[in-house]
Point group: C2
Chain length 449, copies 2
C-alpha cells in the first residue's frame, strides 16, 4: 500500500517549484517507482521537478526538517535499483539541464545534473575535445546519475571512470547546504575533495546538481582488431602487453569462448577463431593511423582488423550483441564484477566449474583492460539468487569487487559485507550521518540496515 | 615552553612500538618540530616510529582515548607547515617502508606510506611502466605525505595529481579503525571512496599507511622545446592549442618575462627570446620521436628544440633554476596558486601592477598546462604578509585557488575562507568530526579554528 502525501508536503513542494512541478497524481507518480529492468518496485509520496540548485536546496531543507525521504532520479537506468523510491519524494534532475560553454583552452565544460550523456557528447562534438566516458545508455543516462554512481563503460582503460573525469561539482548536501566548486582548476588543494566523495555515493550523501567535466582530445584515426587466444590466461598476458606497448589503446574487451559462440550463433556467422578459448577486441585511436603500432604489438598473431567505421562496427557487434544474444536464450542473472588481473584466469575457471556443478550456462565477457567482467548465468529461476551469491563469494575470495561499475543500490547491499569490513561500513555510516544527519537521502540504498 | 610527555604516554608508546622507537629525548624530539623552510616551529610530546599498520592503529587508539594529539610526518617537505607538531606526538611513517612487487599486467604497485618518491621510481624502472607523478623533492618526500597532500608536480598535465594515480589506500582513521582497500581494482563501486577523500586531507582525517599506485607507460622518445610568445594571453592560447593537438604532451610550463630574465642572468646566458613577454617550455614523450608532431603544432613559430638528454636538461634549467635565481636576489614570498586558464592573462597583468604599486619585484612561472602559477614576491619583509594577502584576494576574485598544490597546512588556513564558503567549511568540520571524533589528528592544520 503506497503512502499518501500529506497536504503539508504537497503545499510545500508546490510553493518551492510551482504546482505544475510538484506532482501527486498517482498515475504519473506511479511511472517513477519502478526501475527500467522492471524487477524492482517501490512507492513514492510525490514527484518534484526542480529547475535550479536553489529549488533543490529548498526541497531538501523542507524534507530534512519534516523527516521526509528523497530519492533522486536522473535517467532511471540503474541496474541495481539505485533510484527506486521507498516511501519517498522522487526528485527528478532533468530540469537541471544547463549546458555551459565549452572552454576550448582548458578543455572543460560545466553541465547540469539532468543533461544526458549523449547531450554532452553532442555539445563538444567538433571542438577537438571529447568527453572520455561512454556507455550504451548514453541517450537516457544523465550526468548527475553517472557521477552519483561513478559510471564506467568501455573507455575506462584509457580515461578512467567518472571520478577521474570530474573536475568540480555542485551539490546539495542532506543538510540542505549547497556546496559549489565548479571553477575548473586542475590543481586545487584547498580542503577535503567532497566532489570525489559524492561521486559513487549513489545519492546517499548529497544531490549532485551540476558538474564541471574534464574533456580529452579527440582522435582522427581508429583501428579495431579481433584476436583469438588459447585461454583467459593468455588473454590477460596479452592485455598487459598491449597496455604496456600501445599508447593509443582505447578499449580492451574480452569474450570467453561460450560467450563468443552464443553471439556468433545470434549473428548467424561462423565464430571467428572457433578454437580459441577467448577472443579479445582491441581498439586504438590516435592522430595518425595506429594500425601499424597495434600490429607490431600483436607480434604476428592472427587478427581481424578494421579501420573504416562500418568494419569497426561489424567487429564491435561480437561484443555489443552479447546482451541480446544471451537474452534470446533466456532471462539471465547478471553480475558485474572486477577481479585482479592476476586472478582473472583462475576466477573464470572456477565460475565455469560452478556453472557446470549447478547446471547453469555461464557467459563471461567484459572490459578486460580494467579487470571488469560481466558474468551472465542462465538456468536458475529469476528469484533464485543462490548461484549469484556463490559467484559473488568467489569474486570476494579472489580479492575482487562484487560491483565493478553498477554500484550497490538496493539489489546488492545484502552482499556489501563481502567486500567491506565492519570498520569500513562503520566509517561509511559516520560519513553518512555527517552529511545527511536526518538520514533522508536515498533510503534503502547502498548501506546495509 | 614545550609540554612534557607524561610517564603514561611514554610507557604506552614504548609498549606498542618498543622503547627504541618511542623517543622522548628532547634533542631528538626537537629535530622534528621545525619545517624544512625553517620558518615554522612547533613543539612535540614525543616521537613515535611505528613499523606496521597495527602499531599505527594502537598508537591512534591510545591517543584518542587519552586526548593526545598526533602529527604525522613523512619526509617533512611541506611548504605550508603541514607537518609541524602542536603539543602533539610526532608519528613518523618512515618505518612503513614495504615496496610490494610490481604487477606487470595491471601496471600497479603497493608501497608503504614511508617510501620516498625516488624509491618508487627506482622500484618500477625498466619494467615498461613508470609512476606518473614527479616533483623536485623526490628524494625526501614520502608517498604517504604526497597522498595526504594530493601532490602535483610537473606531469599533472598528462597524468593528473596523486588522487588520479591512486588506486587504493590503507589508513588508520581517527577512531583507530583500519580501513584497507588495496586490491588494485580499476573499477570498484562498493561504497564511499574514502581513499579519494583522505587524499588531500593533510593528515586530519586519518593516517595513510600504504597505497596502491596506478602506473603509466614509459616512453622511449622525448623532446623539449622552448618557445617565445608576445604575452601571457598568447601563451594561454598556444597552451590550449598544444593540449588539443599534441597527444604526447608531457609538460607545459611558462616563465613570464621577468622570471625568464632573472634566470638567464643567473645562468649567465643571454635570455632566449629576449623580446618575448613569456616563454613556454613544452615536453612531449611517445614511443616514436614526437618532434615532428610538436613542430607541426608550433606551426612555424621559432623554437629551441632538444631531443638528447643533455640538451633537454639544458632547456629545463630555465625553469628549474627559478627558485635558485630568485633566491640569490633575496628571500621571496612564495605563493602557489591556480587561476582558470581564461583568467590567467588578466591575473598576471593585475599581479604585476600590484607589484609596481607596492615596489615589489614579481616573478611568475609555473605549470601553465594546468593553470598553476608560482608567484614570487621580492621586497616585503619576511613577516609582512600584506602583499601576499592582496595577491591571494586577487586570485580568489578571478575564480582561482589560493593553494594549487602545496595545500593549506598552518600557513594558509587564515585565508581558506577566500576559497571556501561557510557551507563548505561546515561540511569539512562535519566530515572531520565523523572520522576523527576525538579531534586528535594534525591539530592546527587545514581547518580554521
Amino acid at each position: 500500500v503506497p503512502s499518501l502525501p500529506t497536504p503539508d508536503l504537497v503545499a510545500a513542494l508546490a510553493a518551492i517549484v510551482g504546482a505544475e512541478h510538484a506532482i501527486v497524481d498517482p498515475d504519473i507518480v506511479g511511472s517513477y517507482v519502478t526501475d527500467w529492468t522492471g524487477r524492482f518496485h517501490g512507492d513514492a509520496l510525490a514527484v518534484v521537478r526542480p529547475h535550479t540548485v536553489g529549488e533543490v536546496a529548498e526541497v531538501v531543507r523542507w524534507c530534512a526538517a519534516h523527516g521526509v525521504a528523497i530519492t533522486t532520479q536522473g535517467g532511471n537506468t540503474s541496474l541495481v535499483a539505485g533510484a527506486v523510491p521507498q516511501q519517498s519524494v522522487v526528485l527528478l534532475t532533468r530540469g537541471l539541464n544547463d549546458v555551459g560553454p565549452l572552454d576550448p583552452d582548458a578543455g572543460q565544460i560545466t553541465v547540469g545534473a539532468g543533461v544526458t550523456l549523449a547531450a554532452v557528447h553532442a555539445a563538444v562534438a567538433g571542438s577537438g575535445w571529447e568527453f572520455g566516458v561512454d556507455l550504451g545508455a548514453r541517450d537516457t543516462a544523465t550526468i548527475g546519475g553517472m557521477v552519483a554512481t561513478n559510471a564506467g563503460g568501455i573507455r575506462v582503460v584509457r580515461h578512467g571512470t567518472m571520478r577521474a573525469n570530474l573536475i568540480g561539482s555542485e551539490a546539495v548536501l542532506g543538510t540542505g547546504d549547497v556546496i559549489s566548486h565548479l571553477g575548473g582548476l586542475a590543481k586545487d588543494n584547498t580542503g577535503y575533495e567532497l566532489g570525489a566523495l559524492l561521486c559513487g555515493s549513489e545519492g546517499t550523501l548529497g544531490i549532485v546538481t551540476a558538474v564541471r567535466l574534464r574533456l580529452v582530445r579527440s582522435f582522427a584515426e581508429r583501428v579495431v582488431a579481433l584476436v583469438g587466444v588459447a585461454n583467459v590466461a593468455e588473454a590477460v598476458a596479452l592485455a598487459g602487453h598491449l597496455r604496456r606497448t600501445v599508447d593509443s589503446l582505447d578499449a580492451l574487451e574480452v569474450m570467453v569462448a561460450p560467450a563468443m559462440a552464443v553471439v556468433a550463433e545470434h549473428l548467424a556467422t561462423s565464430a571467428p577463431f572457433a578454437d580459441a578459448g577467448a577472443v579479445l577486441l582491441v581498439e586504438a585511436a590516435a592522430d595518425h593511423d595506429p594500425t601499424e603500432t597495434l600490429a607490431a604489438a600483436l607480434n604476428g598473431r592472427e587478427a581481424i582488423v578494421a579501420t573504416d567505421r562500418a568494419g569497426r562496427a561489424r567487429l564491435w557487434r561480437y561484443r555489443e550483441s552479447q546482451t541480446e544474444a544471451i537474452g534470446r536464450r533466456g532471462v539471465p542473472h547478471k553480475l558485474d564484477v572486477s577481479v585482479p588481473l592476476a586472478a582473472t584466469a583462475a576466477f573464470v575457471d572456477d565460475v565455469m566449474a560452478l556453472g557446470r556443478e549447478h547446471s547453469a550456462e555461464v557467459f563471461v565477457f567484459g572490459h578486460l583492460g580494467d579487470g571488469n567482467l560481466h558474468v551472465n548465468l542462465l538456468g536458475p529461476a529469476p528469484d533464485d539468487e543462490r548461484l549469484d551469491e556463490l559467484v559473488l563469494r568467489l569474486v570476494a575470495s579472489r580479492g575482487g569487487s562484487i560491483s565493478a561499475e553498477h554500484g550497490i543500490g538496493r539489489a546488492k547491499r545484502q552482499w556489501l559485507h563481502l567486500n567491506r569490513s565492519p570498520a569500513e561500513l562503520d566509517a561509511f555510516r559516520r560519513v553518512k550521518a555527517a552529511l545527511d544527519p536526518a538520514g533522508i537521502l536515498n533510503p534503502g540504498v547502498l548501506l546495509p540496515d
